[in-house]
Symmetry: D2
Subunit: 312 residues, 4 copies
C-alpha cells in the first residue's frame, strides 16, 4: 500500500505488537484492527488509534436511568434497539473513539462541519505538505447531474476522462512544484537558492489546490459518530467522503456489533413519513387508490414517498 510512508508502517507494526494489561472493558473486535490503516482513495486512509467502551457502556448508561428496578428485565440487544428507535441519544455518548485520517482538503472541509468532535490537524504553517493529491479513478469522473443540482450524473467518456485527468494531474504537479519553489527548497527539504530565504509556509500553502491531502486525529462519541455516518454514508453524500464513511461503518460493526445492527435497522434502512404521507399510507392500507393530487404533497415529496415504499 502506498498510502502510508515506510515510517508510518513501522510505527503501526510496533504499536500493534505491544500488549498491555487493563482493568477496562475491551472490544475484542476493535482490538484486532487497532492502529491498522485501511486505505481509502488513492493516498488516504482511516485507522483507529484509541477507543473507550463498547456496547456494554451504552447499556450500563441506559440502566443508571432505569435504576435497579429493571436490571434483569431487558436484554442488551432489545434495550439498544429500543434506545435507537426512541431517539434516546445520551447513552450512546458514553462510548468514544479516536481516528487517524488522511484525506483530501475538500473532503476535510465537509467533514469538519460535524462540530461535536475533537480535531487536531497537521498544520501547513509548521510543516511542509507532501506531494500527494487526489486524482479520481476514471470510473468516478461523472458529469454534473441534470436533475440534482448538487449531484453527479453519468460517467464521462474515455477521451474526456483522459483529458480531465491530465488537467487535474498537471495542475496539481505544477502547483506543488511552485509551492516548493516559493518555499525555496527541494523535495528533500534542501535549500534551492542560497541568496534568499523561502516564503513563509503559511503563505506558500495557498498555492496548493483542494485535492491535496491533509491528516488529522478525529475523536468523537458513538452518538455523534452515528450522526456523521447517517449523513455521510448516505447515497446522496459526495462519493469522496462516502468511501471514508463506509470504512468507518465497517469499523463500527467490529467495535459495537449490537449498536451497529440497530443503527442499520433504525437509521440507515429506516424512512420517515410526514403527517400527510402517513394519511396517504393509511388510506392505501384501507384499500383506497391514492394519487398525488389526492394529497397535499408536492410532486417531489410524492416521488420520495413512493420511492420509500418501492412503488415508483
Amino acid at each position: 500500500m502506498t498510502n502510508l510512508t515506510q515510517e508510518q508502517s513501522l510505527e503501526i507494526k510496533e504499536a500493534r505488537a505491544a500488549s498491555r494489561v487493563t482493568r477496562r472493558v475491551v472490544s475484542e473486535g476493535l482490538e484486532e484492527v487497532l492502529y491498522q490503516a485501511v486505505p481509502v482513495l488513492d493516498h488516504g486512509f482511516v485507522r483507529v488509534i484509541d477507543y473507550m467502551g463498547d456496547d456494554g457502556a451504552v447499556v450500563q448508561a441506559a440502566r443508571v436511568s432505569y435504576g435497579r428496578g429493571t436490571k434483569k428485565i431487558s436484554e442488551d440487544r432489545g434495550l439498544i434497539h429500543y434506545l435507537l428507535r426512541h431517539w434516546h441519544t445520551t447513552p450512546f455518548e458514553m462510548a468514544e473513539i479516536k481516528f487517524h485520517v488522511k484525506l483530501p482538503i475538500f473532503v476535510a472541509r465537509q467533514w469538519i462541519r460535524h462540530r461535536m468532535a475533537n480535531v487536531n490537524e497537521y498544520s501547513a504553517r509548521y510543516s511542509t505538505l507532501d506531494r500527494e493529491f487526489y486524482i479520481p479513478a476514471a470510473e468516478h469522473l461523472s458529469a454534473q447531474s441534470v436533475q440534482n443540482r448538487q449531484g453527479r450524473g453519468e460517467v464521462v467518456g474515455a477521451a474526456e476522462a483522459e483529458r480531465v485527468l491530465r488537467i487535474l494531474t498537471d495542475d496539481a504537479q505544477r502547483n506543488y512544484d511552485h509551492y516548493l519553489d516559493l518555499l525555496n527548497h527541494d523535495e528533500g527539504g534542501q535549500q534551492l537558492r542560497d541568496d534568499q530565504r523561502g516564503l513563509a509556509r503559511e503563505l506558500a500553502r495557498m498555492n496548493l489546490s483542494l485535492n491535496f491531502y491533509t491528516q488529522w486525529y478525529w475523536k468523537t462519541d458513538l452518538h455523534n459518530l452515528m450522526n456523521f455516518l447517517r449523513l455521510r454514508a448516505d447515497p446522496h453524500a459526495q462519493y469522496e467522503i462516502r468511501v471514508y464513511a463506509e470504512v468507518i461503518l465497517d469499523i463500527l460493526k467490529k467495535w459495537v456489533p449490537l449498536t451497529y445492527e440497530a443503527f442499520r435497522e433504525h437509521r440507515l434502512e429506516a424512512a420517515t413519513f410526514s403527517g400527510e404521507a402517513l394519511k396517504a399510507l393509511r388510506r392505501m392500507l384501507a384499500g383506497e387508490h391514492v394519487e398525488q393530487l389526492d394529497t397535499s404533497m408536492s410532486k417531489r415529496e410524492w416521488d420520495e414517498f413512493l420511492a420509500k415504499l418501492e412503488l415508483s
Copy 2:
C-alpha cells in the same frame, strides 16, 4: 464505608478483579484506582469507571500539528507546559474520562452547568430514590458572609448548629416518609394500602428536598475537566462541590501527572493582571510607590491586585 450499598461494593470488587489484554495506551496510575469509590460528604462518592489516553495522547495530538519536523525537539513535559501556558486547548480534548458520582441534588444542579460533558442520571421517574440526604458536619455550618453576597462567613455556635441540624434532619426524614407514603409503599418496596395504587413516581419525587442524593455517569475530556476543576476547586466554590473537585484533582494527578503539574502551575496557582494592573506593576518594579488612586483601578480591583502579589 456507608457510602456504598453492599451490592455496589461487591460489583466494584468483581470489576477490579478482572484483567484484560489491550493494545491501547494504559495509565498505570489510574488503573490502580479504577472502579474504586472515594467517599465524599456523608453519603456521596466519586469513582472512575473508564478512561482513554494519558499524557502521551496530548503530546501526540500536539505533534500532528507540528508535523514530523519537530518530532525530536521538544520533550513531553516542556511541550505540555507550553500548550497550557499558551492556551492551546485542542490537544487536551484528545483524552477522555468517565466517572460515576453520587452527590446531593443541589450540587448536581451546579455541576450540570458544565455543558461540554455527557451525563446519564439515575431517574426518579423510573425508580424510587433511597433515604439518603446530605446533612453537613457541624464545622461546615457557616453563617451568611457579610462582605460576600454568595459566600459563607463564620461557623455558627454549637447550640445553633444543633438546632440547624435537627431542622435539616427532621424535615428530610419527614419529606422522605411522605414520599414513601405518596408512593404507597414501604422502605422495602411493599405496598402499604391495598385499596389503591401509589402516586406516579414522577410526581411524588417533588416532595424531596434538594439535599437528597442522586447518582450519575459523567464523561468529559481532559480540557473540559480542567475547566471544571479551575472553577470548582477554587476557594470561592461552594464547599459541597469543592470537595468533589478536590477528589477529582487527585485522580487527575494519577491519570496524567505531567498535565496535572502544568495545570497547577499555569492555572490553579497562576494569576491574570489586567492592562491597568500591568501598568501599575511596571511602575512598582521601576521603584515607584503606587497607590490605588494613582491608577484607574476600583477599590475592589486594587485589593485583588495586592492580594495576587501578597502585598495586602
Copy 3:
C-alpha cells in the same frame, strides 16, 4: 394573574410601551406578544424577551449554500419544508430566541439537559427564594402507570387527591418556614433573632423541596428549540414540562409560521419506520396479510408499528 409580582407586571407594561426603530428584520407576530408572560402551572410563566431573525433568516441561510443559481427557483414555503424533510439543520440555527421562564425545580432539572442553549438562572446563593411551590391540580394527580415504568396511569380518587395535596402543601410550607428560620429572617427580610446571623443562603436552600419555583433566562436557536419541542411537547413527556412546551409551540407559530407548519408536518405528526417495518409495510401494500410473527419485530415494536398506522 398571580404568577407575576406587581413589580414584574409593571416592568412588562413599560417594556411593551417602548418602541424603537431598527434596520433589522422584524417578526410581526412575535412583536405583538413580546415581553408578555403566558401563565403556566400555578405560579410559572413563559415570556419572550428578545429574538433575532424570522422564517426569512432560514431561507437566506439555505440560499447562500445554493448560490445565486437557484435564487428564484424555490419558494420560501417549499424550501423550508424541503429542509426539514431532509434534516438540513444548519439554516435553522440562524434564528435565535430568548425566553424568561419561571418553573418548578424538578422541571428545570429536565429542561437543563438540553445543552445547546444559554442559561442564566436565579441564584439561591445570592438571593432568597420566594414562598412559591408547585401543587398539582387534582385532575393531574395520577397513579403510577402499570405498563409504563416512567408514566402516569389513572387519576387518583377525590379522597386520595385531597390527602396527597395536603401532604405536598404542608411539607412545602414547613420546608419554607424552616428555610426562613435557618436564614434567620422573616418573609419581609427582617432579622428574627438579634443575637445571631442566619445560616448561609447556599446551605439553607437545601431544605427546600423540588417543587419550589426558580427562574431563568433561556436562549437557543430555532433548530435546537425544535429539538426541545419534539421531545417535550411529546405525549410521553411529563405533563409539567409539556405544558411549557405547548406554550412555546404557540410562540413558535407566531414567530416563524412557515417553519412551524413544516415542523408539525415533518416532525410532530411524522413517524419513522425501521427497515423491518418498511418491509412489512410493503408486503401489506401488496395485499399480503402480515402478522407480528411473520416479521422479526418484537411484540412491543409491532404494537408501535400498528399504532403509527392507526391499525391497533
Copy 4:
C-alpha cells in the same frame, strides 16, 4: 470598492434604506453600520446582517443570578468589568450577532475551528465559484521566520516579491481557466463544447487553490466572539485572519461599547503569570535581583515573563 458585486451593493443599499419598528432593545452604534460591507484583503469583506441584545443584555442576565437584592448596587460598567475579570462567561452568551463574510479558503479553514458558532457556507457543489483569489500585497510577502516555526520573518525583496506574485497569480488564473474548462462553460456560464456535459461541480472545484474566495454567514454569541477575537486579533495570528478580527473588533466597539472596553482591559491587554512567575515577581517587588537561574522557569518562559513586564 471591488469587493462587492453590483448586485450585492444594490441589495445592501435597499436593506439599509428599510426601517422598521420594534419593541426589542436596539444598539444604536451597530444599527448605523448594519448591512454595510467593510472591505478586507483584496476581495473580501465583513458585514453584520443581524444581531440581538447589547451591553444591557449582559447586565440583565448577570442580575437574574444576583436576584433583586443587588439591583441597585452595581453600575453596569463596573459589573461588566467584574464579570470579565472573574471569568463569568454565561451572561455574555446572552447577546448574539450574525456576519456575512467573504474570505479566502485557507482563512476559512482556520476560522471554522471555532465550533461554538453557526455557519452556512456558499457551496461549490451547487454553484460555480467566481474568478476571485487572494494575492497578498507585496509588503505582506514575508520569508519564513527563523525563530518561530509557524511565523513570518522579514519581508522579501522587491525582485523576489515580483516573482512570487507572478507565480501565485499565474497558477490561480490557470487553475480557474481549467476549472471552467472542466465544467465546460465560460465565464458567463455558457456551454463551451456542445458534444458533452461538464464535469460535476463537486469534482471540478478540487482544481482550485486555497487562496480562492468563499462566503458564509457566521453567527455566534458575544462570549464566543470574544474567544475568537482573543485568538485571532492576537499578534501571533496569521496576518490574513487577523485583519478580519480587527474589523470585527471595531464592530464590537460599536455594538457593546462597555464590553469592548472591559475586553481590551481584561483580555487583550492583560497577561497571565504562572505560579513560578508570581513567586519571581514577589521577590522582585521585595527588592531582590532575580535571574532566570534563580527560578524554575525555562529560558523561553523567562523571556516571555520579562516581555510581559517590558523588562526585556
